[in-house]
Amino acid sequence: MSEELPAWSLSAEAAESIALPEEWPGEVTREWAWGGATGGGARVCVLDSGVETDHPLVGQVQRSVALSIEGDEVIVEDNDTAGDLCGHGTACAGVIRSLAPDCELVSVRVLGAGYTGSGAVLLEGLRWAIEQGYDVINMSLSTTKQKFASLLHELADTAYFRRTMLVASAHNMPVESYPWRFSSVISVGSHEQEDPYAYYYNPAPPVEFFARGVDVEVAWNGGGRLVCTGNSFATPHIAGIAALVLSKHPELTPFQLKSLLYLTATNVGGGK
């Protein structure tokens, strides 16, 4: 993805033109952050195993796309009808829907064709999703392959500067994997509480936030439900709250959104 390169400086006249459209209150509260919001207008992408459309807990999926690689060619299948090949993507979509009922949901399927080449498909899926300019990308997966790390890092930064908030699952085990370790994404681990709105800022990153991830009732294939545990399910909780915030304050950049999540975290100023 190429970017136009302006000169990076700020003249005295220009300083006035970048005044923030909305001032933050002295005390930032959850009420200010997303009170009354339902996610309307926010575009959320679920990069996963696909999403079952019309699942009662998911509702309408505005677009379903599947990515694959044949030889050197990236194939983008619009109107993917395969649904969810596992159930995992549907689970994530259902969590987002439960928090942000009116957001737009898009499924980008990057899993399902077997293990071989899965890292490359993941990368291309993320690249494609960033190009579409979604507000939030939920990524409850990671790769351990070092060769993808620098490319993923570049993509994560591109998303960050294009106002796409990448919300990525931290690993449940002490291993190096990507993209959750990058500072341009929001990385999410699990806490054990049942409150879907309880989330904690971690003052000792790389994992930046903890959200509900234990014994979560989620949507699964065939209109079903399952009780699941894993950071995979904590991640869409933060993605859903991010969608709420962005539907009320669409002008926020990923930096501002992250700051807002920090200020409203349960262990910071949350609950107000």
Binding site: L111, Y115, S142, K145, M173, S190, V214, D215, V227, S232
Partner: protein
């Protein structure tokens, strides 16, 4: 010493397939006991065929499972492998697309499933599964951590098994070098009883050569 000779000696003392299998078996036995689960198994990824293969299993039907294969994108294990994320699922029966065929072919259809990827350095070697932990207790993050510790152990054992297999594979068909490998293996095996006689004989052989 050439690389081939070094490999031959290494293969001889590296340990046999049986020993590593025993280690994997012990890991699933302990995992099953610690989690008070009905079964536990380790699946190895065969990268050449893109399949998952049962390498060890602790349950009633364990013998019959070993060596069974299924596509790497199948079921929860397939997802865990590809996404590299551990998953804990209660009551999988409500998931119609949960790979029931695969589960039935193993002779055991679980209600709950914990699956964790086996990661060694940047590779994913396979999946560890623990089936049907007691459903009356709430799952905790401490259990998730424990599962990760088992996975780490299983990954190291799987890595050793694969190394041993590769070393033996490399020697297969090379009659001359295999003699050296077997010799090294025998010497290693006789350590306890003392191998002075054999070593003296080898010293004589060396003098002759």
């Amino acid at each position: 010493m050439s690389d081939e000779l070094r490999a031959a000696v290494a293969a001889g003392v590296l340990g046999s397939e049986d020993q590593y299998r025993a280690l994997l078996q012990s890991i699933v036995d302990v995992a099953r006991a610690i989690f008070k689960a009905k079964a536990s198994s380790i699946l190895l990824l065969d990268e050449e065929t893109d399949e998952l293969v049962f390498e060890a299993a602790a349950d009633e039907a364990s013998e019959a499972l070993i060596g069974k294969r299924f596509p790497s994108s199948t079921g929860i294990a397939g997802f865990v492998l590809v996404s590299r994320q551990p998953l804990v699922i209660e009551d999988v029966l409500t998931d119609p697309r949960f790979s029931r065929e695969t589960a039935e072919s193993t002779g055991f259809v679980p209600k709950g499933l914990m699956a964790v990827p086996l990661l060694h350095e940047e590779r994913v070697l396979g999946v560890l599964e623990v089936l049907d932990r007691p459903s009356d207790t709430r799952f905790t993050l401490a259990e998730m951590e424990l599962l990760g510790l088992f996975a780490n152990q299983a990954a190291i054992a799987l890595d050793l098994l694969q190394r041993a297999r590769r070393a033996h594979e490399a020697l297969r068909g090379d009659g001359e070098l295999e003699v050296i490998s077997r010799l090294a293996e025998k010497l290693e095996g006789r350590r306890e009883e003392g191998a002075e006689g054999a070593l003296r004989l080898l010293a004589e052989l060396e003098r002759l050569l």
